[in-house]
Symmetry: C2
DNA sequence: TAGGTCATGAGGCACGTACCTCAAACTTGA
DNA sequence: TCAAGTTTGAGGTACGTGCCTCATGACCTA
């Protein structure tokens, strides 16, 4: 029976009293308004520290009669995973609204760095507190991120990080761990050894390379009887991936497994269904979307590794609130958990 | 670029205007105070519906200068998983406080229905909005839950449900799916067929039975070459489990896998480390705790299925807020995702 | 018809913060 | 030393809700 002793949270009044200044001065310090001597500001900061004061975000938003605005820039195109990210944002809307947050989604043509950069540049700090972007590494975007940060907008990267930029936070899975997990599972699935084909979207994408590296590491270390064929590039395109898989299956009748670490899973499933093999083939793919879900149900895919879009959006929202509080610096950059799905635990 | 049109949330003022009554009357209806004719209350309800009004929980808590109080009753004893639930509550404290919530934890001697029932009976509705309990099915507790509900405390069950009671919500994994997943993985791990030993804590526990049933289903349907030895009861006790596993390993030199669907994993790991087998043994256990983590790292355990205590506590808190809003009825009782951990994706 | 009960309205204060105005106190430079 | 500027204090209003008091009017019953 160890109840916590509940001490009232410190308020701006407490801070003012502790610092020996007026409410107005505390307010000026808290909200970065001018007209406070450095020495006075220091007294206030000290009082804030010693009281452990943290602005009451909800009272603050209420007083401004204003929602906390977060804009998600999500690639548009044929990638189902990106759609599910956007859907996850939509699913959060009502709950976010109850917490005085407003989520907006902007779909950007995939890999269109110019439009994304322009979008970031066009954000008004008064109408947007936080931007969440999914992007590849482009100098143009790096600059736009730094500019937005300078204007007072907290920028966070989602799925794929933008190291070297002023982004406040990265939300995504550990892709190396995902690759290692795939190898670890396939290794156990094929105790007799054999050949595994590896398909990537592109060998220029950071997340795909990370997965590949993790996959290779574990295979080399723990399962030396397994050989990798590839990696091949399917460019995340269903048609191209389908042709690739069909050719692989025809040329390697003894193939033991396939690891598709990119997208284009509709093509993967189509090729597998067509190929009517007699001996079992163990297949691992990424992202729980309509095609992979169908593949799991039909038995053509054994395991799907998932980024958990809902979890990622939830983290992004939590981080946005943390930055609005000003406590963002203490945010741990711990990666999202990798979802592992079989036919038997589909959500 | 599809921004959402942001319409201001409806307030009590809007409701009053729409219903053609005063603020005081809306207040009386919203907070269940007496002195409103049924016909008038109906008008107010209609206005609430048509405006989609939902009380601003934070303003409400602020006005009452009161936190939303949630009490977690968590079993005490040797069970590491229960400890990690308590730790998950502790981890949420600071964030919850920022959202005007106060979390208290009470550790109850495991399976001590009397103390739990007394704890529920002793809750003051003014000091506690929501109780979250981990319990087995006992009539005594069922009655205490119904009583607490009658006094205005929302009760939620965690990990194991209490069907037939007035509990508002259940938070936990789908144990049938967990058992099916274990079978599906072991089936793929042992393509040659063989024998799998199954160990439960007790065959009187609902969650253990559910796991066992799921496991049996998938094995029978998809992997007929695998035979189950057991189930044996380890009573979630490390020493007993260790003896059991040691005996199993000695008597079945050709054992292909072990599924421990209960606790007592320290004993499982100890027995496995002692046994120095030559041929690989595939082992699946439940709950990511210190012993199972050690087993994964050492290679004695292949896969751990996890309830994800942090996720469960998060859900419990979200549900408590939903009930405080009065929107609890629309809460979907969708189960928490099952965490699947290999050495390669340990968090 | 008087006295009573009940339903409702009007309005105020509180919660913690933001943002505004006005006046007073202080500092600085010539 | 005085004028101009800067810094600070005091206090108000607002946000959306809860909770309280008081007044008014409607209705019922003796």
């Amino acid at each position: 029976m160890n109840e916590q002793t509940s001490r009232r949270r410190a308020t701006v009044h407490d801070v003012a009293r502790a610092a020996g200044v007026s409410l107005a001065t505390v307010d000026r310090v808290l909200n970065g308004r001018p007209g406070v001597r450095a020495a006075t500001a220091e007294k206030v900061e000290q009082a804030i520290q010693s009281l452990g004061f943290s602005r009451d975000l909800n009272a603050s938003l209420m007083a401004r009669s204003r929602d906390l605005k977060v804009v998600f820039f999500i690639p548009d195109g044929s990638n189902e995973f990106m759609d599910s990210l956007a859907e996850a944002v939509a699913r959060r809307q009502s709950q976010a609204l109850a917490d005085r947050m407003h989520l907006a989604t902007r779909r950007i043509r995939a890999l269109d760095a110019g439009t994304l950069a322009a979008g970031l540049d066009g954000l008004d700090p008064k109408a947007c507190d936080c931007a969440v972007i999914v992007t590849s590494e482009e100098p143009e975007i790096l600059e736009a991120v730094d500019n937005a940060t300078r204007r007072g907008i907290a920028v966070m990267t989602l799925v794929s990080d933008l190291p070297g930029s002023a982004r406040k936070h990265f939300i995504g899975i550990d892709n190396g761990a995902a690759g290692r997990t795939a190898a670890s599972l396939l290794g156990r699935f094929l105790p007799q050894g054999g050949k595994i084909a590896v398909i990537a979207g592109s060998l220029h994408l950071r997340d795909h390379l990370d997965r590949l590296a993790g996959f290779r590491d574990v295979l080399a270390q723990d399962f030396p009887d397994l050989d990798i064929i590839g990696p091949f590039e399917g460019h995340d395109a269903p048609a191209e991936t389908q042709a690739l898989v069909a050719k692989l299956l025809a040329e390697h009748r003894d193939l033991g497994g396939i690891y598709n670490l990119g997208a284009g899973n509709a093509g993967l499933v189509a090729a597998l269904e067509e190929a009517q093999r007699c001996q079992p083939l163990r297949v691992i793919a990424h992202e729980l979307t309509a095609p992979t879900r169908a593949g799991l149900m039909a038995g053509s895919i054994d395991v799907v590794l998932d980024q958990n879009p809902d979890g990622e959006i939830r983290e992004a929202i939590a981080a946005a609130r943390a930055f609005a509080l000003g406590t963002g610096r203490s945010l741990a950059a711990d990666p999202i958990e990798i979802g592992i799905f079989l036919r038997d635990n589909l959500r």
